[in-house]
Amino acid sequence: MRPATEAELAEIIAAATGPMVVRGGGTRGIGEAPGAVLDCSGLSGVALYEPGALTLVARAGTRLSEVEALLAAQGQRLAFEVPDLRGLLGRQGESTLGGVVAANASGPRRVQVGACRDSLIGVRFVDGAGTVIKNGGRVMKNVTGYDLVKLMAGSWGTLGVLSEVSFKLLPVPEAGATLILHGLSDQQAVAAMAAALGSPFEVNGAAHWPGEGTFLRIEGFSASVAYRAERLRAHLARFGAVEVEPGTARWPAIRDVAPFQDRAGDVWRLSVKPSEAPEIVARMEAEAVLYDWGGGLIWALCAEGCDLRGRLGPFQGHATRVRGAGPGAFQPEAPAVAALTRGLRAKFDPRGILNTGLMDA
């Protein structure tokens, strides 16, 4: 099924007799759900782009690459730095905006500008009964009624199928630089990243790639980048020599988890309290890890089928298996939270036909 309009999408869902797997470009989906594929890539096209208002509205099936090119021509971008996980997950195809939103996909710049959900200002979607619903809009500040925009971001198609999404945008800075520290232990690296992120020098990327180095990114006007690079170098002197590399060319590899792309095994993604990251990593006996978000995001490569949550025990945060087979991709929830989640699903998808069970533990 491949609807071309929102009305067709609503008809298909209203008439559905069994479960459906909601798909955008099929480049970043995780977990398993039964049913026929509902391909949303036909809901395509930019509805509105106002560079002077930093606003974009597009149908959910619009290709990410098309939007990125359109914005780049005006010197703008989606600030939250969408990861391209095709290499990591072994997928083909073209990522869509709807898929990006459904996954709340956010890259290294998350630490400064927020996640996809923070740039998302409006949605239209079709719920599990086939009803078209809109929330938010095309303006940056909007507290009119409940914020279902946030609720839809990261709901993985389990509450409704997105038909249109609106974003606020940011200008592409004139220049960028990457600061590199070498030879730090995981603990030292997390401490260095905390020092950098706690400084006024507007670090918008902080990653530690064991064996390769600890990386910090700054962006802005050229003179400002040069100034902040020097100040940061001095600020971090206690962690050792700081190399300043012009540009930001190495960040896509971090964003896309390049170090794991050619290696077999399950891949996990953990959101944690940054200072606890090294200790959590020590407990999980992974084959390789990559720290992003100053330590707040851990990518871990483990043997196939490993029970990572079992090894970890309780911790503040959550772990998602983004590559690997079997149930349990998403973190189990505390009973009171799970009850709310179940309640919302039952209201928005009363027949339980949209990505059924996908986010269940």
Partner: protein
């Protein structure tokens, strides 16, 4: 403003309810004497007042849970209250309700610079959150103009913004976790000192739900390192249109100011008479503030100046020192006070696409003249969040009604051009009956379903946000 008829069963059970509350709370935390409950009869939307049945002032999550369990069992509506600074009537009581005030819950529970968060009880005021961390070089970004008084609980309920959210976002973008007590007393922990809580984004829907989904008793907030410095410039223009174009050009040029504030002539004149900030008398005035080191500030302001000069301003005023910077902000910061001196006023809060600014200002001017009430405009231009102030005389029969009619028309205009009814104040009772202008019945129904899940008996702040006709069947159930 129509409010539901009080539940006579609840009114009749006052003695039993008070006795029950006194069993679970210390004596000084339950207020039921009519002389004392009157202090809670309204919030900052003072046109509407109603003393509640009882007021409780708990000190902990456990006490809040006990109160809510009791009210749930008795079928008593509960109106949560932070500091009572809502401009939308978010904390307006009903005669049959228990007002649950969090004002005594002000503790800092954790403060962690390595992980850049603070955890507080939500009765703590917005400014005192920054106060707890500023000596160490950090701040809490959302800065509503009531920040001296307003509580974090209310900020979360209304998803409050402020002048600096162009760069730093509003409350929802700075909220990492909450302890939420549901109406039945269930305590839920959502999120925490890490980014992006797992599962559905419940935190996102709780923030801005106007106290209708639960009572937030504790919050984990993101704190940020203070910038090295900040400096404003003031630019005066001979037309609103040109000022609007200048805002758009600054944004397109890749500068990201922390604030772009806009004042029109009526607002400039009133604040000048009151605060004597030395503003130029012109049609429109922008205050643009940027941050960074002195050299970074110079660079950004040079770019802004070049853009502004292309628009032929009547004045471009820079601040050579801290005192001059303060004077640039002085008029803007006293705008609301100035208006209050000369008139009663109603402050609107609609947001519009920045590109519609000149058209909307022109239409507001026409509507203002047609109805015979002055409107002064002061707003956050960078994000299109307008604050038209409608001036009226509360002692003059019919003025309030005309003011409300004009306010509703202006908000309809905001929606018509692609904007919304409220950008940072919330719906409360004030914009409740206009929700149908912005939302189709299905859009509202989707929101009501969320409340059904969190508060199936519809006891939490039940008469707010949605038109009463839309919620009637649920409230009666």
């Amino acid at each position: 403003m129509e409010m539901p008829l009080p539940d006579s069963m609840v009114l009749g059970a006052k003695a039993r309810i008070v006795a029950g509350l006194r069993q679970i709370l210390p004596a000084d935390a339950v207020i039921w004497d009519e002389a004392e409950t009157r202090a809670y009869e309204c919030d900052a939307l003072t046109a509407y007042r109603c003393p509640p049945l009882v007021v409780v002032l708990p000190r902990s999550t456990e006490e809040v849970a006990a109160v809510l369990r009791l009210c749930h069992a008795e079928g008593v509506p509960v109106v949560p209250r932070g500091s009572g600074t809502s401009l939308a009537g978010g904390a307006l009581p009903t005669a049959d309700c228990v007002v649950l005030g969090v004002a005594r819950m002000t503790a800092v529970l954790d403060c962690d610079y390595d992980n850049r968060f603070i955890r507080v009880q939500t009765g703590r005021t917005n400014l005192s959150v920054t106060g707890a961390v500023e000596a160490d070089g950090f701040f809490y970004a959302p800065d509503p103009s009531s920040q001296l008084a307003c509580a974090i609980a209310g900020n979360i309920a209304m998803n409050s913004g402020g002048a600096h959210c162009l760069k730093y976002g509003v409350t929802t973008n700075n909220l990492l976790g909450v302890t939420l007590v549901q109406m039945d007393g269930t305590v839920v922990e959502i999120g925490g000192p890490y980014l992006d809580a797992g599962g559905l984004d419940l935190l996102g829907v709780i923030c801005g739900s106007e106290g209708q989904l639960g009572v937030v008793t504790e919050a984990t907030l993101r704190i940020l390192p203070k910038p090295e410095g900040a400096r404003p410039v003031l630019v005066g223009f001979n037309s609103n249109e040109v000022a609007g174009e200048c805002v758009s050009d600054i944004i397109k040029a890749g500068v990201l100011p922390v604030a772009i504030e806009f004042m029109d002539r009526p607002c400039i004149e009133a604040t000048e008479a009151f605060a004597k900030a030395g503003y130029p008398m012109c049609e429109a005035l922008l205050i643009v503030e940027v941050e960074g080191s002195p050299a970074e500030i110079d660079e950004q302001l040079a770019l802004i100046k070049a853009i502004a000069l292309r628009h032929d301003p009547v004045e471009f005023r820079e601040a050579a020192d801290e005192d001059q910077a303060k004077r640039i902000w002085l008029g803007r910061k006293s705008a609301f006070g100035a208006m209050g001196q000369i008139n009663d006023y109603m402050c609107l809060d609609g947001t519009i696409p920045v590109s519609s600014l000149p058209y909307v200002l022109r239409r507001i001017g026409e509507m203002s003249r047609a109805i015979g009430l002055d409107v002064a405009n002061v707003f956050h231009a960078g994000d299109g969040n307008m604050h038209p102030l409608i001036l009226f005389d509360a002692n003059k029969p019919g003025d309030l009604e005309r003011c409300e009619a004009l306010g509703a028309d202006i908000l309809r205009l905001c929606v018509e051009v692609g904007g919304c009814l409220t950008g940072e104040h919330g719906v409360g009772i004030e914009k409740r009956d206009l929700m149908g202008v912005q939302f189709a019945p299905e859009d509202l129904e989707a929101q009501l379903k969320v409340k059904d899940v969190f508060d199936p008996k519809w006891l939490l702040n039940p008469a707010k946000v949605f038109p009463l006709s839309v919620t009637a069947s649920r409230r009666a159930a």
